[in-house]
């Protein structure tokens, strides 16, 4: 058992649960697959940097699994070190230490702009390829079938697409305009769902905590925000800045609140998905690491049972979260283009 987790026990004999979980939750420049006899087996991913001397790219294996800023990689006359999954310019003043800190313990080294294909980006590419394969073959089944009936994969995807149309787009956006937003809503739903599900599969090349990454959810929420703001009609802005039908002091009071609401809505979308998926990963990993915390094999059946139980709940949760994100996006878009009669 100790050999399996030897990689995380490098610094001390104590198994650091916090570090193991955070390592899994966060993004990384290499895709760690497993440890064999203390040696990490991982897929090196390309590091792409925009530096002072232009574009620099190399494989992350050049850092030799180092994440403490002690291995230097030199490219184009510049030295780089990796410290806690961030790439810095290394000190070249001949000192032993490649990273310098200020009085508060913050790193003062400069950072190049990092466009690397990280674990999350790699995982996102896989999910995109899967989505394209699934939906292109679904589309093909319709051209082959005679009466427009779903066959093959279409039998799986058509009910889901009809669900988004009937339960999300029609009631939230309305009969007249829903067609225009269906592609966006479907993309949102299936993209979030497939990434959530891929995060639950515990082996390579899945298991990346992509939809539990706040940058990922931020971009999705930002797209909803931009669409809502761009398509919003006169009534929407009027209801925010000069709410009709209430006395003037109340209007003045409500305007700033409603204005903040424009931003709070997408922010809550962002945090909801991020928190739910991250929490799911953390819970499953904590249950499994109970075995290593108590150093007892007898705890394994209970730990296994609970993690399987939570995993099954997570299968439900990830689908619900994808649905909720889509539904709320549709609701916000619907409220922006709604026509009022008064």
């Amino acid at each position: 058992m100790s050999t399996v987790f030897a990689g995380t026990e490098k610094n001390s004999d104590e198994f650091d649960v916090n570090e193991m979980i955070m390592h899994h939750i966060k993004d990384s420049h290499e895709f760690h697959i497993m440890d064999i006899n203390g040696h990490a087996v991982s897929l090196p991913l390309p590091i792409i940097l925009w530096t002072d001397n232009g574009l620099v790219s190399f494989l992350s294996s050049a850092f030799e699994h180092d994440d403490s800023g002690s291995v230097i990689v030199s490219r184009k006359g510049q030295d780089f070190v990796k410290y806690h999954e961030k790439i810095f310019y290394a000190n070249n003043n001949g000192s032993e230490k490649f990273i310098s800190y200020d009085a508060n313990g913050n790193i003062i080294n400069k950072k190049p702009i990092d466009f690397s294909i990280t674990k999350m980006v790699f995982s996102m590419f896989i999910s995109m390829i899967l989505l394209v394969l699934i939906f292109v073959s679904t589309a093909k089944t319709y051209s082959n079938s005679r009466k427009g009936e779903p066959t093959g994969l279409g039998k799986f995807t058509e009910p889901l697409i009809m669900f988004i149309k009937d339960e999300v787009a029609l009631p939230m956006i309305g009969e007249k305009n829903h067609d225009k937003y269906m592609p966006f809503l479907l993309t949102l739903f299936f993209f979030i769902w497939i990434n959530n599900v891929m995060g639950l599969i515990p082996f390579f090349p899945f298991s990346a905590n992509l939809s539990g990454n706040i940058a990922f959810t931020f971009v999705l929420a930002a797209i909803t925000f931009i669409i809502t703001t761009l398509v919003a009609n006169k009534d929407y802005w009027k209801h925010i800045f000069w709410m009709p039908g209430i006395p003037v002091p109340m209007k003045l009071f409500l305007a700033p609140i409603e204005f903040l609401g424009i931003f709070i809505k997408p922010i809550s979308l962002m945090i909801r998905l991020f928190a739910n998926i991250s929490a799911g990963h953390i819970i499953i990993l904590s249950l499994i690491s109970l075995i290593f915390i108590f150093k007892s094999l007898w705890l394994a059946p209970a730990s296994l049972f609970f993690s399987v139980f939570i995993s099954l709940i997570e299968v439900l949760v990830v689908a619900i979260q994808a649905y909720i994100f889509t539904m709320l996006s549709a609701l916000y878009i619907g409220s922006a283009i709604e026509e009022h009669e008064h």
């Binding site: 945090i271 909801r272 739910n276 991250s278 929490a279 619900i320 649905y323």
Partner: protein, 79 residues
């Protein structure tokens, strides 16, 4: 008295406060989910023919309440 000592000791270690915060959030979410579940069951008992719709919306509402608890968990994780 022991509470003061406890607070003094834990003032250094914010992790304890984070755990208390997460626990409080769990209490709130528990009450919320309980309310939703109870009301949904009651409604289903009154109108069994609406069971499908009630179940669906109850699950969605539970996910909303759960999200609020998870906001708190995220805040306590950040410390």
């Amino acid at each position: 008295m022991s509470l003061i000592i406890f607070l003094q000791e834990t003032l250094v270690d914010y992790g304890a406060f984070a755990a208390i915060g997460a626990g409080l959030a769990a209490i709130g979410a528990g009450i919320g989910i309980g309310q939703i579940g109870g009301s949904a069951m009651e409604a289903m008992a009154r109108q069994p023919e609406m069971q499908g719709k009630l179940q669906g919306s109850a699950i969605v509402l539970i996910a909303f309440v759960e999200a609020v608890a998870l906001f708190a968990v995220v805040v306590s994780l950040i410390k």
